[in-house]
Amino acid sequence: GAGVSQTPSNKVTEKGKYVELRCDPISGHTALYWYRQSLGQGPEFLIYFQGTGAADDSGLPNDRFFAVRPEGSVSTLKIQRTERGDSAVYLCASSQGPGQGDYEQYFGPGTRLTVT
């Protein structure tokens, strides 16, 4: 079956602009995660959804970052007033929910965001 997909694969934007990054999880996966991977680092957690609600948003760096998952499938990560420090690869992962099996997270290919 189809894996996790993310669009766009690359995004270049100017400092101060607003961007949206999209994630399509594996069908039937109720858990969805966003991570950010800076150059030379491991992925760092941003936010986790269980269904439509954000179960844990403790990794969001500040209030410029926001994510939604209105119908419990596709999620959008939104970044306002982008800064050069936001440049990174943004990874999305999905997994089965509680009681549905193991909790392996399946990762998408990522969106490379460059803020100029």
């Binding site: 995660y33 991570y35 992925p43 957690f45 179960a55 990874l91 509680p98 392996e104 997270q105 990762f107």
Partner: protein, 115 residues
């Protein structure tokens, strides 16, 4: 706080030689442990995982890892490295008791393979 340490930033091995990548974790509960591989420009691919049971786990591409609770370690091994194994390797930990939890990743070990 949860953390993962991968002490080796970069390792170079000869093709056909054995490999061990180190991973130490700090986690307040029973951990789920993972090794992922990332090739340049690619997403993360799961090599293997430990949830419970046998502490020696087998993964894809001939990799294995051993969970040692007393040492808080989950080292990745391969008996004979192939040139195609050159990539970045990440160890990660999640919470077994909490079900779906965000993963905490190490900073990664870059593997180079020479002829």
């Amino acid at each position: 706080a949860q953390s993962v340490t991968q002490p080796d930033i970069h390792i170079t091995v000869s093709e056909g030689a054995s490999l061990e990548l180190r991973c130490n974790y700090s986690y307040g509960a029973t951990p789920y442990l993972f090794w992922y591989v990332q090739s340049p420009g690619q997403g993360l691919q799961l090599l293997l995982k430990y949830f419970s049971g046998d502490t020696l786990v087998q993964g894809i591409k001939g990799f294995e890892a051993e969970f040692k609770r007393s040492q808080s370690s989950f080292n990745l091994r391969k008996p004979s490295v192939h040139w195609s194994d050159a990539a970045e390797y990440f160890c990660a930990v999640g919470g077994a008791n909490s079900g779906n939890t965000p993963l905490v990743f190490g900073k990664g070990t870059r593997l180079s393979v020479i002829a």
